[in-house]
């Protein structure tokens, strides 16, 4: 009996095209966008390519006697100095591919920067500062500084982070597959038929929960495999990752099912579930990374998405995580609580229709 129910409900879910599009296409699209947007913010500094610096030199400038050495030293450091004796500085920069322009005057030097090449400007500025300092003859190479290398969690690349975050987020959104079954049941008044059949309350509940979980595994599993291949996402500890993802699937299924049973109107159920998921995701690092989020830690830990995202992110970069236990406990707890509530709600609805 249960087996037939699971089979039929799974068919109903698989025949809903929009759900499959959302579950498979959605994560891939979002990972591509966010990975691209946050790439600069999250990637490690890689150094700069060589660039050109325009300059103008007054004869009275303090740099005048040393300009040839300055140019040679700059060349060794990837900066090519090119002189422009006349012309509007903005024009020179715009027309000649100069990242920065320096006007060496008698008592001062002016560095003209543009926003698109700020990094290059800073390099040039640092270089010229060094030249100035060398005029004083100061050399601190012999000084021994007290330097400590911190043992920190390595940095994660944006595509890995958002690959992980959106796999988890879309698992939490996958309750939508239940709507295919519930809409059909309500339209066809199937509940009245279930009432007079021999099927138990728990079987009816599992008849929805199990297909939803299977559908989530199929949909999000497909998109995870595709996105891992396309974006070369590094997952780290595979057994624990799979365990946490499976627990997330089960927790999200029972929570979504609870909301579907709680409200008579499917629209309210969907709205409530999406809002809860969105808030949990917002707080838990699905949009802005949890790493840089300024939301208070005491608020973050309320979100199951935070625990799972953090655990999987730390697996990705260092193979282990302090958040493993809290993630497993939290997800298991949610699963048990919402399952019990859901079974109770299912029984209540069944009796109401009597």
């Amino acid at each position: 009996m249960l087996h037939t129910l699971i089979k039929n409900n799974l068919k109903l879910m698989l025949r809903s095209k929009w759900i499959l599009v959302l579950m498979i296409g959605g994560p891939i699209l979002i990972i591509a966008v966010l990975g691209s947007v946050f790439d600069d913010l999250m990637k490690s500094y890689e150094g700069l390519d060589e660039f050109m610096a325009g300059y103008r030199l007054e004869d009275e400038s303090a740099f005048s006697p040393y300009m040839q050495e300055v140019k040679r030293a700059a060349e060794d450091n990837g900066v090519t100095f090119v002189e422009y004796e006349s012309g509007d500085i903005e024009d020179i920069i715009a027309k000649n591919d100069c990242a920065v322009f320096i006007d060496f005057q008698a008592e001062a030097y002016i560095i003209y920067q543009i926003q698109e090449h700020e990094t290059e400007s800073h390099i040039a500025e640092y270089f010229l500062n060094g030249v100035s300092a060398s005029m004083l003859g100061a050399d601190g190479a012999d000084l021994r500084l007290d330097v400590v290398q911190l043992d920190i969690i390595p940095n994660i690349e944006s595509e890995d982070y958002y690959g992980i975050a959106y796999t988890i987020y879309f698992i939490w959104c996958s309750f939508v597959c239940l709507t295919a079954v519930i809409t059909s049941e309500r339209k066809g008044k199937a509940n009245q038929k279930y009432k007079i059949s021999l099927i138990s309350n728990i079987s009816l509940y599992l008849g929805k929960a199990i297909p939803c979980a299977l559908m989530t595994v199929i949909g999000v599993g497909t998109s995870t495999l595709l996105s891992t291949y396309l974006f070369q996402i590094k997952w780290g500890n595979y057994p624990m990752t799979i365990l946490i993802l499976l627990l997330t699937v089960l927790a999200s299924t029972v929570m979504g099912l609870f909301f579907c049973l709680l409200f008579r109107s499917l629209t309210y159920s969907i709205c409530t579930s999406f809002m809860v998921t969105w808030v949990a995701g917002f707080v838990g690092g699905s949009f802005e990374t949890y790493i840089y989020s300024t939301i208070d830690q005491s608020v973050k830990v309320l979100s199951p998405i935070y625990h799972a995202t953090r655990a999987l992110t730390e697996y990705s970069v260092q193979g282990h995580s302090e958040y493993t236990r809290s993630t497993i406990i939290y997800l298991t707890g949610l699963m048990v609580i919402f399952a019990l509530l859901g079974i109770g709600m299912n029984k209540l609805r069944k009796e109401e229709e009597a």
């Binding site: 946050f38 490690s44 500085i89 003209y112 640092y126 601190g140 400590v148 808030v279 949009f287």
Partner: protein
């Protein structure tokens, strides 16, 4: 009463009696207001007068400061300094380092810390923020400097691997060497030491930095960027509310087609244009009502400061809300059934919010730039920046963008409706 009035009356009653409608126009804005309180909208910001493009100046941090990843400009190595020395020699060191051009120095004045405490604080910073180097200036830094051993008065913590860390350490060595040499010269006299160091700086050629703006990009200062970020969050949350409102109207349209009410209405000689028109006019009223409620909520509960006249902010969300609502109605017509329409509306809202840069600035290149322009929110971000900068043309752009999007949405909806009927 004429037909349009009768239909408007019908639509109004149906909407106002729908609990989902009140949820969309009241609950979601309330949620928005609560979330904005969590984000600290309207609170005084200690960096209100900061200009992110200030160079060579050490920036002071307070305990309430947020992550440096958002305070820093991202083009220089971020350096966070825990300063427990409270000394002018420390000021000199940090000013010199900040002046190098490659480092952005943030100072947090603190009490003296033990080695364990500073290492714990540094590790927390390193794990939860984007910082290149963390420096601890010990309480006895000034004494060490006076004795000619300035390097003993500080500890440097390296975080993630970054080749600029070596340049930072090299710069530290240079400045500390200057300080040690000067200390030897003045035999530890603090006042004389400071004078010598200041004179040294004056001897060197003076540096000036000029920022040129040769591109057409708008440049916002730090405070304006804060306003931008907050307004974008409101666009995101309220966009969802407006989209759901449009969904409810589309739902009524679909329901009326299914249950025969539309057939009956058309048999009353009501043209399709009048019928659809009545739905669209109802949508405009719903958007106006929702905007009004948001206006009251924002000004009453959050006392938000958006850096622009409140009327301009409400105008922006009204027009943006109009586009979101109409888009949802159009999607509803094309999808044909409630469930598909719900998913489609949510997906479109999510993608639009992402690609337009509501959660974070997006600087796409190539074809993605054009794709992002398909999101109406992207245009409203431009309008917002014009208003923040006090430039001309915001109202005109707002009207043109709204008219253009409504025209396109209306056309697609009309074609979709025609195709659906033919099928």
């Amino acid at each position: 009463m004429n037909q349009l009035t009768a239909l408007l009356k019908m639509n109004g009653k149906l909407l106002l009696r729908n609990k989902g409608f009140w949820g969309a126009i009241v609950l979601i804005p309330i949620l928005a207001v609560l979330m904005l309180n969590v984000l600290g909208l309207g609170e005084e910001d200690s960096h209100e007068n900061d200009d992110k493009n200030t160079y060579g100046i050490v920036k002071e941090m307070t305990q309430e400061d947020r992550r440096l990843v958002y305070l820093a400009d991202g083009t220089r190595l971020t350096v966070k300094v825990y300063d427990s020395s409270e000394s002018r020699l420390a000021d000199y060191l940090l000013d010199e380092l900040a002046d190098k051009g490659l480092f952005e120095v943030f100072r947090y004045r603190c009490e003296e810390m033990t080695d364990a405490e500073i290492e714990k604080a540094a590790k927390e910073d390193a794990d939860g923020d984007r910082i290149g180097v963390i420096v601890y200036l010990k309480a006895d830094f000034e004494i060490s400097a006076q004795e000619g051993n300035a390097e003993q008065g500080l500890t440097i913590f390296r975080t993630e691997a970054d080749e600029r860390q070596e340049l930072f350490e090299s710069s530290c060595q240079t400045v500390l060497a200057q300080m040690n040499a000067a200390a030897v010269m003045v035999q530890g006299d603090r006042t004389a030491l400071l004078e010598v160091l200041e004179q040294t700086v004056e001897v060197l050629p003076q540096k000036q930095i000029e920022m040129l703006n040769i591109s057409s990009k708008r440049v916002l200062n730090y405070q304006q960027l804060e306003y931008r970020s907050n307004i974008c969050y409101t666009f995101a949350i309220l966009g969802l509310a407006y989209s759901f409102c449009g969904m409810l109207i589309a739902h009524s349209l679909m329901k009326e087609r299914e249950n025969g009410v539309y057939t009956r209405v058309s048999l009353c000689n009501v043209t399709k244009i009048k019928y659809i028109g009545s739905k669209l006019v109802s949508a405009v009223f719903a958007v106006a009502l929702e905007t009004g409620i948001i206006g009251i909520g924002m000004s009453g509960l959050v006392k938000a400061n958006f850096g622009m006249i409140y009327r301009d902010y409400l105008l922006m969300i009204f027009f943006l809300g109009l586009i979101c609502t109409m888009l949802s109605i159009c999607i509803g017509i094309l999808a044909g059934n409630v469930m598909s329409a719900n998913y489609a509306v949510f997906l479109v809202w999510m993608i639009n919010s992402l690609i337009s840069g509501l959660y974070f600035p997006t600087e796409f290149t190539g074809w993605m730039t054009y794709v992002s322009r398909l999101a109406p929110q992207k245009w409203f971000i431009d309008i917002m920046e014009i208003l923040l900068l006090g430039e001309q043309g915001a109202y005109t752009l707002m009207l043109i963008v709204t008219a253009a999007f409504l025209a396109v949405i209306g056309s697609i909806g009309a074609v979709g409706l025609r195709l659906r009927e033919e099928v």
